[in-house]
């Protein structure tokens, strides 16, 4: 139900991968002397650092430049780490307008989500549920995670959700759902150790 940074990760891993791969290839070609033959770079027997390193780092502006580069690299790394935290990104307050009226009603989506959860929790086989609303009042998105016991009739449950909870939410908002996403989970606790509601055995007379 939460949003992850999949696309962001793929892009940055690709960019870093290409950069590191290109740098490694260039280093290896330079070490073998192949790069000198192609682009007339420094000969392979020469020192990696051509001049005096102390003189290079002596000016006062060098540490300032290094601080800036360090801050940029560190900030990018930190932002990338923070982006890994899964986010719900739930909707802000819904503003329900009446056609032709200047007044509007503010509705907290979590209240509607709680109502949907309570409705679904009454359905047979449901252990627990979680609802999340995104989008706007006129174009709402509903994401549901429903945990059921291992003997539940999943198709019947989907049918009941589609014909009860979804129409009720759509009716309350007076707007059709843009997206409806339903994730079914099975409870880790076996139904056979709890209150068994349906017999699957054979009665022998």
């Amino acid at each position: 139900m939460r949003q992850t940074a999949g696309t962001l990760n793929r892009i940055w891993l690709s960019v870093l991968g290409i950069l590191v791969l290109a740098a490694g290839t260039a280093l290896l070609l330079q070490a073998n002397g192949a790069l000198q033959a192609l682009f007339n770079t420094a000969p392979a027997w020469k020192s990696v650092v051509a001049g005096d390193l102390s003189a290079l780092f002596a000016p006062q502006w060098v540490p300032a430049i290094i601080v800036i580069i360090g801050v940029i690299i560190g900030a990018l790394g930190l932002l990338w780490i923070i982006a890994q935290i899964p986010r719900k990104n739930r909707a802000g307050a819904y503003r329900l307008h009446d056609d032709g009226s200047k007044e509007f009603t503010v509705c907290d989506p979590s209240v509607l989500a709680a109502a949907v959860e309570n409705r679904i929790n009454t359905l047979p086989g449901v252990v627990t549920s979680a609802a999340l609303l995104r989008g706007t009042a006129r174009a709402p998105d509903l994401t549901l995670k429903v945990t059921v016991n291992d003997r539940a009739d999943v198709r019947d449950l989907i049918h009941r959700i589609q014909t009860s909870a979804l129409p009720e939410l759509s009716g309350a908002l007076e707007a059709p759902l843009q997206r409806s996403r339903l994730q079914i989970e099975i409870s880790g606790r076996s139904q056979s150790t709890g209150t068994v509601v349906r017999s699957t055995g054979t009665v022998v007379h």
Partner: protein, 196 residues
């Protein structure tokens, strides 16, 4: 690097590559902190930290054809290749699709929804298969793993000669998955071992 998508993302998605991203992010952060620390030490004390002395001397004496340069190049190629593979390899889907098209009848009141998605996670499919398996006579313990294409069951039985137990298990579990509406139904395989 912000992502403020207010729309519902798909529930059936591929891995987000969080582990390689976290490792790369931590390395970037470490490099940034080290650079800032070195430069601030230079600005405050007027001299570069002594820690820099070793790498500087090593770098000053290094030639391009030194074996160390080749080793660094090979290491960079391997690291870059791993990063690219992490980004390119798609990985398996997190969940299996449930076909919910036949769940509503003609007279049912169903609200119009532009985009609908119903899924069951791989863990849930494995739990469902395991639970159905444990209901079969002769099964002592069972463990199940599920991918989007295959459900593997590892079963232990009290029976010295399991006979057709494996077939009964796969048939029952497949029927349960079909009844649930998984589309496509993953292939079910069972390994039955007798308890000694």
């Amino acid at each position: 690097m912000s992502r403020h998508e207010r729309r519902s993302p798909r529930l059936r998605h591929r891995p987000s590559r969080a582990v390689p991203a976290l490792i790369a992010g931590i390395l970037l952060l470490a490099v940034g902190v080290a650079l800032v620390w070195l430069a601030i030490s230079r600005l405050v004390n007027g001299t570069w930290p002594a820690l820099r002395q070793g790498p500087r001397d090593w770098l000053a004496a290094l030639a391009w054809n030194d074996p160390a340069v080749q080793q660094i190049g090979i290491a960079a190629i391997v690291a870059g290749g791993i990063l690219l593979l992490c980004a390119i390899l798609p990985g398996g889907f997190s969940a299996l699709t449930i076909d919910d098209s036949g769940t509503t009848g003609a007279g049912d009141e169903v609200p119009p929804v532009q985009e609908q998605e119903t899924v069951m996670t791989r863990r849930a499919v494995a739990r469902l298969a395991k639970a159905r398996c444990l209901q079969i006579d002769g099964v002592d313990t069972a463990a199940a793993t599920a991918t989007t294409r295959r459900v593997r069951l590892s079963v232990k039985t009290y029976l010295h000669e399991p006979g057709d137990l494996g077939t009964r298990i796969t048939d029952a579990v497949r029927a349960r998955l079909e009844e649930t509406g998984l589309s496509p139904v993953p292939q079910v395989t069972a390994t039955v071992r007798s308890r000694d």
